[in-house]
């Protein structure tokens, strides 16, 4: 299971804290101090430390001893001048974009279906979440096996309906490999999107659908004219959250292809990981991770704004 913000209701910073008329109760701050210290020490400090690394010439020896020489923007110039870095960025955006589109379309379809009233729907909704909650190491392995060229279930099914003739080695060819990691990623994220959208769907009053029906709107028309417009704030929140989470994803791709074949699925997190842990270039690795941070943090601004709008609506 990936760690994600799953609790969009709290971005509302204006939550009433019982108005303190008298002096502040400083003792009550002790409740929150450990958490703040913890986050400062285990998240903010490493991030700042990482930025510092990105401006130094860190050799293998300096990893342990410290004292690496300050080289200014040299590492940034190195990374930004490298085709591999830009390639990884493009692949990351492509992979994330495709996975989000697939997961969102499937998640929406499932949400609409399981929003109908019928016996057993709650159990089924929960069961579907299993795909989301399964460790990515496990699901990536299962997909590797399902997509095996010679004995995989997916090829067998595709062959049975005549879509594939002979063996298709998904993970050994560039474009199929990208599709393969997209499919595996979307499979995990879809139930999560379904749950987010279901919550939005439940807020749409039945009377609106009844009225649309009386006006002669068919199922598709009701979806495009009632569901989609009313779901717009929820859609935006779910899309942004899914994009940010997918962009961060490392495990699925690393386990299925390690970025290959060639560089076909070399997403930024794996590129940065390789810089540091394969080639022991912690300085350029620090540059890659620091630059990578721009995407999720930039999008999170829009995410928080859309959360607030969703709450206001």
């Amino acid at each position: 299971m990936t760690t994600t913000v799953t609790e969009p209701g709290t971005a509302n910073g204006t939550t009433p804290v019982r108005a303190p008329q008298r002096a502040r109760h400083w003792g009550e701050h002790l409740f929150v101090v450990p958490a703040v210290v913890f986050v400062l020490a285990t998240v903010l400090y490493p991030l700042v430390f990482n930025v510092d690394l990105s401006f130094r010439d860190v050799g293998v020896a300096q990893i342990v001893t410290g004292g690496a020489e300050w080289v200014g923007w040299e590492n940034y110039a190195d990374q930004l001048g490298r085709d591999e870095f830009w390639h990884a960025l493009v692949i990351s955006l492509l992979y994330t974009g495709l996975a989000v589109v697939v997961a969102f379309a499937l998640g929406m379809a499932l949400a609409v279906y399981f929003n109908q009233r019928f016996p057993g729907r709650n159990v089924m909704r929960s069961l579907l979440l299993l795909a989301w909650i399964l460790p990515t190491v496990v699901s990536a392995n299962v997909w590797r096996w399902m997509l095996d060229g010679s004995y995989g279930l997916v090829n067998a099914l595709l062959e049975a309906v005549g879509l594939v003739d002979g063996d298709l080695f998904w993970l050994a060819r560039p474009v199929p490999a990208l599709f393969a990691v997209v499919i595996a990623t979307a499979w995990s994220f879809t139930p999560f999107i379904m749950i987010l959208l279901l919550a939005g769907l439940q807020g749409i009053p039945d009377t609106l659908y009844e009225a649309a029906k009386i006006d002669g709107a068919g199922a598709w028309r009701r979806f495009t004219s009632v569901t989609m417009p009313l779901l717009k704030p929820v859609n935006l929140t779910a899309l942004l959250l899914c994009f940010i989470s997918t962009f961060k994803t490392f495990d699925t791709v690393f386990l299925m292809t390690r970025g290959g074949p060639g560089e076909a699925t070399m997403i930024l997190p794996i590129y940065a990981y390789n810089e540091a842990f394969e080639f022991f270039r912690f300085d350029t690795g620090a540059v890659a991770t620091t630059l990578m941070l721009v995407v999720p943090l930039g999008l999170s601004v829009f995410y928080f704004r859309s959360l607030r709008r969703e709450e206001a609506a």
């Binding site: 804290v17 409740f31 450990p34 958490a35 986050v39 279906y113 096996w145 004995y151 912690f282 928080f304």
Partner: protein, 280 residues
């Protein structure tokens, strides 16, 4: 009457469709289980054998049980996940309570901080942590891995828990204070007991998150004896090659705690995932 039976029939159709969709969607999970129960020769059958026959437990009784790395990995993961859960609860629960019910400065800013932090990719932390931990001698240690896991688990836990404490009526806490409770005892004796479902949710999500975590384990535990089961499993994908039945058996074992917890505590998990989305 006929309208009623038509609607019953419609609902039955919907249920049947739902079962079909769910079964299709979870086909990979079934395939993992089915493959793990096959004999080596049967995994390469064409067309694939949909049901394992004969059912063979060899992958479990021979491979899983006898492979030293797997047992060690499971032990490591248990220690790391349990440690992460305990630390997360100890740090996040009071913080979430304070942000919901106490007179604390910069509440909005702190809530935002805990949310933003969750946007940080694990690789961004694993890289500097490796350098920091190398200097502090924390690489290949439970303490280091628990610390790393908590970095993202605590903010998530606070975000999930705060709404639970917000739903504890302020009047109840005020009343407890009038009855002689201090801030601390009101928290322990009044707020905590009524927030047990939230605590379970957070404990389960922290445990499962750390159990399935991969990046920190990969980066911060190079020593095979310290690797969590997820990293062990990733290593086996190379050494097992095409022994898919063995690989799937290990995958089942890794997934098992998640599936068991999910079956018994799913309402807490689903509740945690949807807590924010359903309340407005």
């Amino acid at each position: 009457m006929s309208a009623a039976t038509a609607s019953v029939r419609r609902r039955r159709r919907l249920t049947a469709g739902g079962v079909l969709i769910t079964a299709l969607y979870l086909l990979p999970v079934y395939w993992m289980l089915a493959t793990s129960l096959k004999e080596s020769s049967d995994i390469f059958a064409t067309p694939p054998q949909l049901f394992p026959s004969p059912i063979s437990l060899t992958s479990y009784t021979e491979t899983v049980v006898n492979h030293a790395g797997i047992g060690r990995g499971l032990l490591n993961s248990t220690v790391i996940a349990a440690g992460t859960t305990v630390v997360t609860l100890a740090v996040a629960v009071p913080a979430a309570y304070a942000l919901a019910r106490l007179r604390v400065r910069f509440v909005a800013l702190l809530i935002l901080l805990f949310l933003v932090v969750q946007m940080v990719p694990a690789v961004n932390l694993a890289l500097p942590m490796f350098v920091i931990f190398s200097r502090a001698d924390l690489v290949n240690s439970y303490a280091g891995l628990i610390l790393a896991n908590c970095s993202l688990a605590i903010p998530l836990a606070i975000t999930i828990l705060r709404p639970y404490f917000l739903s504890v009526p302020g009047e109840v806490i005020e009343a407890a204070k009038i009855d002689g409770c201090t801030t601390w005892t009101a928290f322990l004796r009044v707020a905590l007991p009524v927030s047990v479902p939230g605590l379970i949710t957070v404990a389960v999500i922290s445990f499962l998150g750390a159990w399935g975590e991969f990046v920190f384990g990969l980066a911060l535990a190079s020593d095979e004896g310290m690797q969590p089961i997820t990293v062990v499993l990733a290593g086996l994908t190379n050494s097992f090659g095409t022994r898919w039945n063995d690989l799937m058996a290990v995958s089942v074992v890794v997934a098992l705690p998640i599936i068991v917890v999910f079956v018994f505590l799913q309402r807490y998990i689903v509740g945690g995932l949807t807590a924010g989305a359903t309340k407005s």
